[in-house]
Every structure is written in C-alpha cells, then in structure tokens.
C-alpha cells in the first residue's frame, strides 16, 4: 500500500532524526514567536461587507459623494432639564472643536449647533431673513441662550441636531477612508481610542454626559471587549491543564500536549502576521479554537502512547507506533476541519474569509505540532511509571458498547429520528441576520448600546438608516416628474411598518417651496414649475448629502425603527415592490447604501452562502471519510450523526433567538469540521477491527477501549474551552460560545451513541 509505505518512510525518518526535528521546530517557533509579536488588531469597515453584492456596488459607487455609512454621532446631554445653560454649551463647543481636529474626520461635514452650516431661515414681510443658529457673538447668558433657542425652532433642527426634548444636542461627522496626512487606511481602533480619550473623557463630567456611536466606536468597543479574551484564554489553559492531568496522571504528559498546542497557536499567529494579515476582533476566538483542537488531538496521542506503554512497550516504540496509527485518522480529521474552514472562503465577506484563512491555517499547523512534534518529544521521556488502572472505565465501556446491539440501537435511532424531525421542523424558523436592537456584537447593557438606545430614543433620527439611491439624468432635480417619483417612493416607504421617517431632496424641496410662499404650508408641494424648483434648489448645497453636484444622483433616506432581520427584510421587499412599480426611463431606484443597506446585503450574502457552504463542508467530510475508510457504510455512520447534530444546533439557535449572521454562520462549518473528529477516531479503530473479522459489537467495544476515553475527554475539553466565552463582553462571542459548546458536546455524544446504532444496522449481516 503506497500510503502505508509513505507513512513508513516518514515515521522512520522522523524518529531516526529526532534531534533534528525538535531543533527545527524550536527554530521555527522562535522565528514565529517574533512574527506573532508583531501582529496587530485590525478592523476595517469594508471587511465587514459583501463588496460584490449588488447593493454594495451601489454603495461603493456613490460613497464618495454621500459619505457612505461610516459616521460618528456624538450626543452631548445635560442630565438636568435642558441644554440651555452655560455648562452645556461650553461642553458642546469643546466636543465640536475636538472632533473637528481629529485626523480622519471629514471636516467639511462636521455638523452641530456650532457649525456655520447650521442655519435658520425665517420669513419676513419682504422675503427671508436668516443666519447661523448660534450667532458669531454668542455668549451663554440668558439673552444669548434665548436667541439660540428661538433660532433652533426656526431652523427646524429639533430631532436631528437637537433632541426632541431639548435634553441633548448632536455633533455629527463623517469619516474619511484614508488618513489625510499619511494617506494610509484610517485606523478605526486608534480613532475609537481618540474618541474615548479626547472627546468623551474631558467633557463627561458634572451634569454632562457624552454618548458616542458609529461603526468606528463600535469596533473600538468590540476590540476592547475582545481583549478580555486573553483572560478566557488563560482560564481555558488552566482548566484544560487540570483536565489533561486528571486524564494522564502525569505532569509531563500534561505539559507536552498543552505546550504543543500553544506552539500551534504561536505558529498560526506568526504565519498570519508573516502573510500580512492582522487579527480582527471578530476572529480573535480562533486561537482559542486552535488551542482546543490541538489539545484534543494531543490527548488522542498521549492516550494511544499511554495504552501502548501499559502493554509493556518502551516509550519510544509506543510513540512511534502511536504516530503511525494516528497519522491517518488525525490528518483526516484535521484536514476535514481545515476544509470546513476553507469552505467559508465561498462567502464574499472579507471578515469571514479572514476567519477562514486564520482558522484553516491554525488547524493545518496542528498536524505538525500535535501529530508530529508531540510524539517525537514524548519519545524522549519514559512514561512507563505512569501506568493507569483503567479497569473501571473499561467496565463502563462494555456497558456503552451495547449501543451497537440491535435493541438499544433501535431505541437510540428512534430517539434520534424524533429529535431530528423536531429539529428539522423547528430549524425552518431560523432567522437570517440580527435579531436584537443595538450593535449586535455587543451586549444590550453595554455602554455603546445604551448610547445607541438613548440617541434613537431622544432624536427623530437613528443610525439604522438605509439610502435608496435614485439615479437619473444630469440636472434632474429641477424636473418635477423626477421629484414626484421620488416623493411617491418615499411616501410608500414611509407607510411600511418599521420605517420611522424618511428624507429626500423631494421632501426638502417641498418644505423650501412653502418657505418661498411666506411659510404657508398650503404651498408645501413639489412645485410643477422648473424655475421655482431651480430657485428652491439654490438653498440646498450638495454637502447636505441629498444630491450630487451634477444633480443626477439623489438618495431617499429611510430611517428604520431597528435593524432586526425581519424589519430589514420587510423594508427591502417593500422597496423592491415600489421600485418595480416606479422605475421608468428617467428614474432608476437602486438599493441600497447606509448601515441598513450594508446589513441587508450582508444578510442576503449570508443567506445565499448558507446552502453552498453546507454542501461544500459535507462534500469535503464525505470525501475525506471515503478516502480514509474506503467504506460507504463507515462514511454514512460518521456523516449522519453530524447532520443530525447540525440540525439540532439550528433548532437551538431558533430557541435562543440567535440569528444566522456573519459570526454564527461560520460556527456551523466549524462545528461540522470539528465534530467529525470524534466519529473518525472511533471508526478508524472500528474499521480496522471489523477488517480483522471482529463482530460489530466487539469491534465497537475495542474502539471504545482504545479511543473512548480520549473521545469523551476531547469533547469535554473542547466544550470547556469554548464555554468560557459565555462570560465574554461581546454578544457574538457568547453566541458562538453557546453554539460551539453545544456542537462539541452533542457531536461527541452522537459519535458514542448514534454512530454505533447506525453501524449496527449497516453491518447487520456481517459474520
């Protein structure tokens, strides 16, 4: 057999040059430690969006003109009563000035009471009078404040720049894509830090509170939360070490698999940094996963070695033997993990692709550290004195082996079928997208989400807006038909449940038209007269974001109540309906920019990716099983429990109100990829025994003796590792933690119960 002879050759050469192998690994590790120390947290807005999605093409095309979706909103609030006092205006001015001078802020679009573009216009007998809302000679005394108050009312900015109840005022800014001085990509995390240090910290005192929201601040908070992961990492290492020690009863056999797994983590980080990648806060959990997977394979290794040594072999011979028996199932298992992660590349969202690369790299590395380095290092030790008495567990295994007998097997399969049917039925309710208000990555009680709730509560605007882009001909904004069409669209959308308000050039032109007629609201219409429209238009600069310079592109901005998946879905589908009805030879409506446009595209991308991803993952798993077992029956026994467990995981998601998102979609692939390990380890022994002529029941019992405790232990170890995420500051990590814990534990149980039950019927007639 050529595979076997290849393995022979590797085995011989590796163990003959043990010193060399260890030295090589040490050298590589030193280099990669250095590389890993250079790794940076890296978060960019564009990584989070499916750039090739139709909506995002519209978004990118017009981003330059309309500022895109990367905004910062800072609400300065006074705790007692209203904003009309000196303390407040001093703070607001301070915040405005600070924000204005932060590099990366688009200075032409900083908007607040203090920006010169915030003007009021009032009608007087002979026309208009107007000026900046806060006059140049403003002093925060009684008279000055009264003037500002009446100007605010005239300017009609309540709900946008000033809170509905006058308790807060807003400073808004759009961020540039690149740093203005260095020309490098804007560092979101550094900017978030600046916002916290230079804008929030100095001004939030006394009665003043400062509330900051926007993508940049959000990733900043996510990154801060992600740093808490280090603690979990340490906790996971400690717990895992204790577990391994309980399993191996040997300090050396505890330290080595842990150390080798840590080497895998270091390699992964080093390689990432060498390849020019950063670590995104969204994928910061991957090192965890790599560690946990590493340990689980390490445990298989020490388990195998320990058993051999107990049979009286020398440590070196045991290590060598274990290496050769485990290399095939190990590589198959790890490769299916890797392939599982690689399938995530099919999703056209930068951050998921990065996760795919990060994770597959990490798992591939384990092949070297835990399947190769670990036995080589162990072979230097003498573990014979650490013989364990496994008599008791062996008895337990004998009981469990009955699962492969027809009676218990029938019962197991019946329960499985019932669970599967229930799960399958329930998982149809699985929702795509975010199901909760606020920033989904963070907990509801986090400062960021509290700030978001405050702002959406006190202002008429929200961060959950979607811009539908109207593309038409040059100078179309003085064409009443174009504006009428936009207005009709806007009105239809305003009537959709979940749309709180909307604004577009059309609605603003109406207000201005009434302004030209003394503020008489009977004139609040889109004037049919081109000259009247041109006159009204002269009041609306393109910096308002309502039109471009050529007047050929205009957004209709829809403010939504929230960004729950069903809200977005409803608004998008109604928008599509309205567009189909209203698109004509002059006007083309295009979905969609703004944060909700991004989410809608992401949701659609996730939904589209779901099926192909599952097909690829299962395809890869099936293929690898066929190759390593060369048996259809074995493949079925491994894959069916996996599929049942993924279905149950989807059921769990609907029960726990977890939506299918950029962060939970990968979990399904990861869960299948890792879940398959158990089945592969069990079956690899079983199929050897079956080939040797054992009855199924006996073969399974043997497999349990040999691998059962390792499988059980592995499932628990992995589950403990990821369950520490329950305590994360980040909501998506909690979600991922729950799902992965479930996947690891239940897959392990399924491999020990459902797998033999299925096998019982597949190998029924075998004598």
């Amino acid at each position: 057999m050529s595979v076997n002879s290849a393995i022979d050759r590797i085995e011989v050469s590796v163990f003959r040059h043990r010193g060399f192998v260890v030295a090589l690994f040490a050298l590589l590790t030193c280099f990669l430690v250095f590389q890993a120390s250079q790794i940076r947290l890296d978060a960019a807005f564009t990584k989070n969006i499916p750039l090739n999605h139709e909506y995002m093409k519209t978004y990118l095309k017009h981003r330059e003109q309309f500022g895109g979706a990367n905004n910062v909103l800072i609400s300065v609030c006074h705790q007692e009563g209203d904003i009309f006092n000196e303390e407040f205006f001093t703070a607001l001015k301070g915040v405005h000035d600070q924000l204005f001078f932060i590099p990366g802020v688009n200075r032409t679009q900083v908007q607040s009471l203090f920006s010169p573009s915030t003007r009021f216009v009032e009608v007087v007998e002979d026309g208009f009078a107007g000026g900046p809302v806060v006059p140049a000679d403003f002093q925060a005394n009684e008279k000055g404040l009264a003037t500002v108050k009446s100007n605010i009312e005239k300017a009609g900015i309540v709900g946008r720049i000033v809170a509905d109840d006058y308790s807060c005022a807003m400073v808004k800014a759009t961020l540039l894509e690149n740093h203005p001085q260095t020309g490098e990509k804007l560092d979101s995390l550094a900017l978030a830090q600046t916002l916290e240090q230079d804008v929030r910290k100095p001004f939030e005192k006394g009665n003043i509170t400062v509330h900051i929201i926007g993508f940049t601040k959000m990733v900043g908070d996510v990154a801060d939360g992600a740093k808490g992961v280090v603690t979990f990492f340490v906790v996971a290492i400690v717990i895992t070490s204790i577990m391994v020690f309980l399993f191996s009863r040997s300090i050396a056999l505890t330290v080595l698999p842990i150390a080798c797994s840590l080497v895998a983590v270091v390699w992964q980080m080093g390689l990432l940094s060498s390849l020019g990648f950063g670590l995104d806060p969204m994928s910061i959990l991957v090192p965890f996963l790599v560690f946990a997977i590493g340990v689980s394979h390490g445990v298989q290794m020490i388990n195998a070695i320990g058993k051999r040594v107990a049979e009286g072999h020398s440590t070196k011979a045991a290590a060598q033997f274990s290496f050769r028996t485990l290399i095939i199932p190990g590589v198959a298992a790890l490769l299916s993990d890797t392939v599982g992660f690689i399938t995530l590349l099919s999703i056209d969202i930068g951050i998921i692709r990065e996760l795919a690369i990060t994770a597959s790299l990490g798992v591939a590395v384990i092949i070297f550290t835990n399947l190769l380095l670990l036995p080589v290092v162990i072979s230097y030790l003498d573990v014979s004195k650490h013989n364990q008495d496994k008599q008791k567990t062996t008895d337990n295994w004998s009981v469990m082996a009955n699962f492969s007998k027809p009676g218990p097997a029938k019962l197991i399969l019946l329960v499985t079928v019932i669970l599967f049917t229930l799960g399958f039925y329930q998982s149809q309710n699985l929702k795509i997208g975010e199901l909760h208000a606020g920033a989904p990555a963070l907990h509801e009680h986090s400062r960021y989400n509290q700030d978001t709730f405050l702002i959406t509560d006190r202002y008429a605007i929200s961060v959950d807006y979607m811009s539908v882009i109207v593309e038409t001909t040059d100078n179309a904004c003085t064409d009443a038909r174009v504006l009428e069409t936009m207005d009709a669209f806007q009105w239809q959308m305003e009537n959709v449940q979940g749309v709180q308000s909307a604004v577009s050039l059309a609605s603003v032109m109406k207000v201005i038209n009434a302004g030209y007629y003394e503020g008489n609201l009977k004139w609040r219409i889109i004037s049919p007269n081109q000259y009247a429209l041109a006159q009204a238009l002269s009041n609306i600069p393109s910096s308002t974001g309502l039109l471009n310079n050529e007047c050929s592109v205009m957004p209709v901005i829809l403010f939504l109540a929230d960004h729950k998946a069903e809200t977005i879905e409803r608004v998008v589908s109604k928008a599509k309906q309205a567009i189909a009805e209203l698109n004509n030879d002059v006007v083309t409506f295009k979905l969609a920019s703004g944060p909700i446009g991004v989410m809608a595209a992401t949701n659609e991308a996730v939904e589209e990716a779901q099926l192909p991803m599952m097909l690829y993952v299962y395809g890869a798993v099936i293929l690898l099983c066929l190759i390593s077992f060369r048996s259809v029956r074995a493949t079925i026994s491994v894959v069916v429990p996996l599929y049942v467990v993924s279905t149950l995981a989807q059921w769990l998601m609907t029960v726990l109100d977890i939506g299918l998102t950029v962060s939970t979609l990968p979990v399904i692939a990861l869960g299948v990829g890792i879940g398959v390990d158990y089945g592969i380890y069990i079956l690899s022994t079983m199929s050897v025994k079956l080939r040797e002529g054992y009855q199924l029941h006996e073969a399974y019992k043997q497999a349990l003796y040999e691998r059962g405790s390792a499988v059980l232990f592995t499932g628990i170890t992995l589950a403990i590792g990821v369950s520490t995420w329950f305590f994360s500051d980040l909501k998506f990590q909690v979600d991922m933690g729950i799902l992965l814990t479930f996947m690891f534990l239940v897959n392990m149980l399924a491999a020990l119960t459902v797998l033999p039950a299925i096998a019982c019927f597949l190998w029924k007639n075998q004598k």
Partner: protein
C-alpha cells in the same frame, strides 16, 4: 381666453406633460400626514383634507377613515353646505365635489398645466359658490359646480398696479396680458358673513363684497404683509390675522383697525370661534392663541412639537385641528 391659450402655449414648452389625474393612495399614515383644512359638517362628522389628495372623514366616535379621492394633488380647503354636499379644492386648480357626505368625490375641475393652486372655497347654497387661489385665481359657479367660470376683479388691484397695467396696455398688449395674469395678489381665504363676503390675501389684502363677490371693495392698507384669515366675532367685531403674528381688530366694521399684541412671530393661519365664545387662533411653530375677551388679548398655548396648526373646528366639545402632522384633537374648549 387668450390668456389661457398663452399660458397653455408657455407651459407646453416646458417638460410638464398633461397627464390624467391619479387617484389618491389609501394609507394608514394619512391621519398623520399634513392636513390643511378641516370642517365640522352638521355636527355629524368631520371632514379634513390635505397632502397627496387625502380626504379623511371622522365620525362622532372619533374613528377616522380615508375616503376615495380621485386626485393626488394636495387639497387646501373643503366646504360643505349640507350633510351631503361639499367641495374640496387644491393644487392643480382642482375642484372636487361630493353629494353623498364625502364618501365619493368627482372631479369638477383639474387644470395642472395652469400651475396655480386654489386656496379656498365657499358655497352660499348647493348652487352658488366661489373658489379662490394664488395669483388672483377666482372661479364662480352658479350650477353646483357643473361649470366654473373664471373671473378677473380689477377692483382688487392696488391703485398703482391699475395705473401700471393701463400704461402697459397702451404700450405692449402682449406684455400687458402676461402681467395681468399674475399681478393680482394671492387670495388666501374667503369668508361668508351673512350678506357680506370677505376675502383676505397677499400684500395686505382685505376686501369686502355685498353681492357675493361680483364686485369688491378693498380696505385701506393697514399692513403690507399677507393676511390668512378674518372673522366676525360673536360680539360683532372683526379680527384679521396674518404673517409674522400680526393680528388686527376692528370694532367699527372695517375701520379703524387696531393692532393686537400676540407675542408671537409665527404665521397665523386660522381663526376659530367656539360655542363657548372663546376665540382660537392657530399658527405655525405650534402656535395656539386663546382669547376669552373677544380678541383683545391672547394667551399663548404652544404645542410642544412645534408643528404648524393649519385649521380647526369644534366638534363634540373638542377642538379638531388639521396640522402639519395630521389630525390633532385638543382639549382647550371650556
């Protein structure tokens, strides 16, 4: 006739196409979108009209329903002469008629190419009515709106404009016609007061007619801004309100007028007199002025949202208001 032809010629050059009117869309937000006029019809129901051709009917239980309206043009005014017969007017010089208490409406006039809105409508009885609007738009019917005739009232011109027009007529006939078509002020409201008819509008216009608008007599100018409403109080005095919080009162039937301090600078839209002899003045920026002394002094009760109040009517002891943000029911009547 030539004027209309000229107007037609001018606008056929512009891109505006003359399309058939589209019926108004029924939507649940119509109760919250801008309403411009509201009327209590025989204490049986309330009719309100507003943006996008919306016509709403509110029954005595305060339940509202959107009626089928044949146009999407913004409607600016509504007037009923009985529980069944009513008219609504608005932009695109549209005139709608109902003879079943507002359930169905028929188009009597629709002239979008004219690009002039009607601002108010008043009917003396089921047959005779007047519709007025921007740039001196003036229509009359004597057959319940089956036919509407346009009228031009030179008597409503300012003296200097009359002279100017006469000079222009001698020099340039063409320019004269163009100028004549747009020189009249905007007519904002027409008020029936027994045998007397009042009309107020732009450029300080207050005019009076004793023959239901066939001949007009302009009052002396007391203010050069626009007037939006006029009313005769229960005590027989006149009140006029207009731009920038201006309010005037006359105890001698039109002369002399005394300015009344309102304390606001918002545009004042409408005067309502309650059965309890209170006077309410509605205005922009959430202005609600209440007078308990026949309009001599006012107390300001600002609406917190600052949204314009356009028109009001007393119904079931409450003030029903057509506002910028739809229907409001205010508990301000004693």
């Amino acid at each position: 006739m030539r004027i209309i032809l000229l107007v037609l010629l001018f606008f056929s050059l512009s891109s505006q196409a003359n399309e058939a009117p589209k019926p108004s869309i029924s939507s649940k937000l119509s109760i919250k979108s801008m309403l411009l006029d509201i009327e209590n019809v025989n204490d049986e129901f309330v009719i309100a009209v507003g943006s996008r051709g919306h016509i709403l009917k509110i029954n005595s239980k305060e339940q509202w329903q959107q009626m089928q309206s044949p146009v999407q043009s913004t409607l600016t005014a509504v007037d009923f002469v009985s529980a069944t017969h009513g008219w609504a007017v608005g932009h695109d010089s549209v005139i709608l008629h109902t003879s079943d208490g507002g359930i169905t409406w028929q188009i009597q006039q629709y002239l979008p190419e004219q690009q002039k809105p009607l601002m108010d409508v008043a009917f003396k009885n089921k047959e005779e009515g007047i519709a007025i609007g921007a740039y001196g738009l003036f229509y009359r019917t004597t057959d319940g709106g089956n036919t509407w005739q346009r009228e031009y009232h030179t008597s409503l011109l300012l003296e200097e404009d009359k002279q100017y027009l006469e000079e222009l007529k001698r020099e340039d006939e063409q320019a004269y016609l163009e100028e004549r078509a747009s020189i009249l002020p905007h007519f904002n409201r027409i008020i029936l007061d027994g045998v007397t008819t009042y009309m107020v509008g732009e450029l300080g216009l207050i005019a009076k007619s004793n023959d239901f608008g066939k001949s007009w007599q302009r009052f002396e100018e007391i203010y050069h801004g626009s007037f939006y409403d006029l009313a005769r109080t229960k005590q027989g005095n006149l009140i006029a309100v207009g731009l920038r919080g201006n309010s005037f009162r006359s105890v001698e039937n039109g002369a002399p007028w005394q300015p009344v301090e309102t304390g606001v600078t918002a545009l004042l839209n409408n005067i309502i007199q309650s059965s309890t002899e209170q006077i309410f003045v509605l205005g922009n920026n959430g202005t609600l002025l209440i007078s308990d002394d026949d309009g001599q002094t006012y107390q300001l009760v600002s609406q917190e949202d600052g949204k314009a109040l356009l028109s009001g009517t007393e119904f079931k002891g409450q003030l029903f208001v057509a506002s910028e943000v739809g229907l409001k029911v205010l508990q301000v009547i004693k």
